[in-house]
Symmetry: C2
Subunit: 564 residues, 2 copies
């Protein structure tokens, strides 16, 4: 709080008078809707990016192509100043060239399998016996497997249980769910989903705390001359390929490079081989894992472009929109977060094709490194807006920095005073049903007025709750108005998130058109209104201190009767 008072620009933004009525331009609403629904290019952007460039793992050659392609496209549609901006150094580039898994004995079967990200290459197909090794947790566990793994393919981990009743694939938020989201949570629990920054580090310590041992297991398997490791992940034609399945979170760093080739395989394949081995039936597989490393310490880049502001007094002020351009690799990252990327591009295209002259500058940021630690957007925020101060608790050595508790309020940079707001979409392909206002009570009425003419598009709900896990978070951490839209969930959590099913066919063209129109309108409104958007309180405002002298019979040092 103290910090906010000191910062002229920020204090101005917080203190700017906010009119009770928004002066929205309904003619512009009509033009944006017409362009976005009747002359959309969002699915063409999608096909070129997902089908042609394909998956975009941070640091990979395909990521580089995607950066360059987005820069070109943004220039082609009429944006100014389209460029790539480094957010810092990343680890190794990596590409899956090919992967397959076939059972040879007791009988032939074709299994669903892909390389885990940053898996070393196994080269050409290798045929080997399979051995089942349950999760190893201690040095003693490792010792028991010494001398037993040479030349084997390891079926590693706990066998997943699959309920024969599948979850419904498709979910839509209904009126009751949205009404609930629109209610301020009087119990004080503001988090709707996956809020990253937390004072309770136990979850993250649990997730990252055994990295060293995980790496030790991989090195042990390699030292024992095992051929490869197969881990289960996903069922029903879905396999999940994020680094939660690898031997450590930091496998993209050369100093943590995974020691043994690994594939993630369908739970049904894992189950079949597990049951056979449990019944003492020998299992042999033919495994192919072809991967390629392409460099180390490469810079990671965001793609940035603008529609310049036209009001001499406001043109240095900025409203931003974005999504992350990077993805995992089993699919093509169409919904995570290709959808957010092409919707933001299409919103910019709608505005440029209408020839709008916004008062403030409208800027798109397409981030990378999101999947490994929100690197692109937090690097951008650090460089432009605020310096973060994290706690550096030794217990959190393995926890990525952006997940750590802040030790002090961020130190704001002058550019922070110019940012009106940031809008993000990263919950799949579902249409926009509202927006998470992230505890920024001042903004609710503004957004409600913007949304009133969008009711027929299903855009109805302002929730004061927080949502997390993506690129608006660094903005919020810096006390800047960063917002994620409320999206219809569809099959994001049940099917596409971080899986081989995250492909073009999972996109809903009509929902993506709707989202593009709404993003364009939000950008336009933010760029045109007289005042900047109201800001939230800076982080580190702290918790309420207990009142003192409240209980007449309380002792000063807490010892009963000490006063006597």
């Amino acid at each position: 709080m103290a910090a906010a008072v000191c910062l002229g620009g920020v204090a101005v933004a917080m203190g700017q008078p906010q009119p009770a009525s928004e002066n929205v331009d309904l003619a512009m609403y009509s033009r944006i809707r017409d362009e976005g629904f009747n002359r959309s290019h969002v699915m063409e952007y999608g096909s070129a990016l997902f089908d042609d460039i394909g998956p975009r793992l941070t640091g990979s050659p395909a990521m580089k192509k995607a950066n360059e392609w987005t820069r070109q496209q943004l220039t082609a549609m009429g944006c100014a100043n389209a460029h790539l901006e480094s957010w810092g150094e990343f680890g190794m580039g990596w590409t899956q060239k090919g992967a397959s898994l076939e059972m040879m004995k007791p009988g032939p079967a074709v299994f669903l399998a892909q390389a885990t990200p940053w898996s070393p290459s196994l080269g050409k197909a290798v045929t080997a016996e399979v051995v089942r090794v349950p999760s190893l947790k201690t040095q003693k566990d490792l010792d028991e497997w010494k001398g037993k793994l040479a030349g084997k393919v390891i079926l590693y981990g706990d066998a997943p249980k699959i309920n024969p009743d599948p979850k419904p694939l498709l979910e839509h938020y209904d009126v009751a769910k949205l009404a609930g989201l629109g209610q301020y949570p009087l119990d004080g629990d503001m988090s709707e989903q996956g809020v990253l920054q937390s004072t309770d580090m136990s979850f993250w310590r649990g997730l990252f705390g055994d990295l060293a041992f995980k790496e030790k297991v991989a090195k042990f398997f390699a030292a024992e001359k095992a051929v490869a490791v197969l881990t289960p992940g996903g069922s029903g034609g879905v396999i999940e390929d994020d680094t939660l399945g690898t031997f450590g979170w930091y496998v993209y760093r050369a100093d943590h490079k995974q020691a043994i080739p690994e594939m993630v395989i369908a739970n049904e394949a894992f189950g079949r081989m597990s049951r056979l081995l449990a019944a003492k039936v020998p299992v042999t597989v033919k495994a192919e894992i072809e991967t390629e490393f392409s460099g180390d310490h490469e810079q990671g880049y965001n793609t940035i472009a603008e529609i310049p502001g036209s009001d001499p007094a406001l043109k240095d002020q900025v409203v931003m929109v974005g999504g992350h351009l990077d993805s995992w690799i089993a699919g093509t990252g169409a919904t995570d977060n290709g959808a957010g990327t092409i919707v933001a591009m299409e919103a910019m295209r709608i505005l440029t094709s209408l020839g709008v002259k916004p008062r403030r500058t409208i800027r798109i940021g397409l981030w990378s490194g999101e999947e490994q630690g929100i690197f692109g957007s937090s690097g951008y925020v650090s460089k432009h807006f605020a310096e973060f101060k994290f706690s550096k608790d030794p217990k959190d050595a393995d926890v990525p920095e952006f997940l750590q508790t802040m030790a002090a309020a961020p130190v704001m940079k002058p550019e922070a005073a110019q940012l009106s707001g940031y809008f993000n979409m990263d919950n799949g392909t579902g249409k926009l049903l509202g927006i998470y206002a992230e505890g920024n009570a001042g903004i609710g009425s503004i957004f409600q007025q913007w949304m009133a003419p969008l009711k027929d598009l299903g855009m109805t709900t302002v929730s004061l709750r927080n949502t997390g896990s993506t690129d608006h978070v660094p903005f919020q951490m810096a006390g800047l108005p960063g917002f994620q839209f409320i999206q219809d969930p569809r099959d994001y959590e049940t099917r596409t998130h971080h899986t081989n099913q995250d492909v073009y066919e999972r996109l809903s063209p009509s929902d993506l058109k709707q989202a593009s129109v709404i993003e364009a309108i939000f950008l336009y409104n933010t760029a045109m209104r007289d005042a900047m958007l109201p800001r939230p309180e800076l982080p580190m405002a702290g918790e309420a201190k207990p009142l003192e002298g409240l209980f007449l019979d309380a002792t000063k040092d807490g010892k009963k009767g000490a006063k006597k």
Copy 2:
């Protein structure tokens, strides 16, 4: 009808008095339920058959293993006379040894793909350019592609459209649906689903009528020296592998052997490559299709075993239970029709382990060749019970015989007089909710009485409607009481039927236990009651003839005023 009167044995069965009240043994119901629910082996049968033996394509070495394994298991559980019985000559044996498809250009991708049944081998991996060829329908279509296909992989057929809203995977029949099934259809439409035998041949002629041209297309591709063909089938991690996707229904016959290697691939992979080629992006893939042919003109076998009858007057009479042991190959045939197989085996095991002494003989028939034409069960019926007379309309030359219209009533054989009934289960893993009585009105009250004590298991509904597409049909065609149970649909039609998702994990253990208990009870009741089950009318009773002389003013030759 006339035929029925002539056949002593059949007439006796049809004419046997049927008491109004069934004399069921509730103590035996309890014992069967206890054995079936508390000491079930149905899932162990499942794992051994699906995980170890794997898919069981008719004519394949795995099919032979499955025949032998079922014979051994039926003997081991205490059945008598377990043996394999030929149903006639089949075509070529075939095994998929391995299959994979990877995109190389414009970027790497791992696609979901498997060989289509009886595809020739491509041998080791071949890398080639992809060319898109839409469905060819005429010689002119073929001519247009001459000289353009050498060395190419062909993406063949119409690009499937995928709705981003997936169908619900799981379906359960509710009370209203079952109540509807239980109502006699006063509009005369007796068919609930897929009734094969029909006087309207247009559907089948449509399906099979262009076989010759389909084969011509494959031969054209081969003559043009194309490398392989990729056809779309299935979405969302599912690929479908029956011969509806191959170049002709009869690819298992040496004289119709497919001329070119083929894989069925996920619709999403087909879509991605189609969109790229439409955008003039060259596509290169690496394809591996390793298949093996293992013989021709081999006999097809059913596995048969019995619990001998103990009543000297009735022991030559038989009640049968079954399912088909063969399957397609992308999965392991766990639900189609592994479920029916292991439930029938478990029903027999329950009865043998309880040491029952049935009055009539209880016989299990595990059929093969079902997927190619219900060959096993219709061969069995032809050999033992009735000779069929089909129309042999030249227009139906390509339509399999069992689908053709009957030209005359079947000629019954003496053994037909001894068959009381046949029970079949072949609609997936879902529990039994009732039974289709196939228009046999005499049997409704009997089954209702048997089912009354099974209401708590969900077994409630007798439907007089017909159901089709599986092994009870030949019994019905011969005028014998052959029944298929009503099953809870679950994810059979949405996910597992003829797909790579038809695996052990898709089985519902609790539903399979329920089905085993109910089959055992139905077998026991049929074997123990005084009379055989009432029979339906023989086929070919014909339709009602119009009454004559009904309209006073009608002329004899239909010419108005001719009478004057």
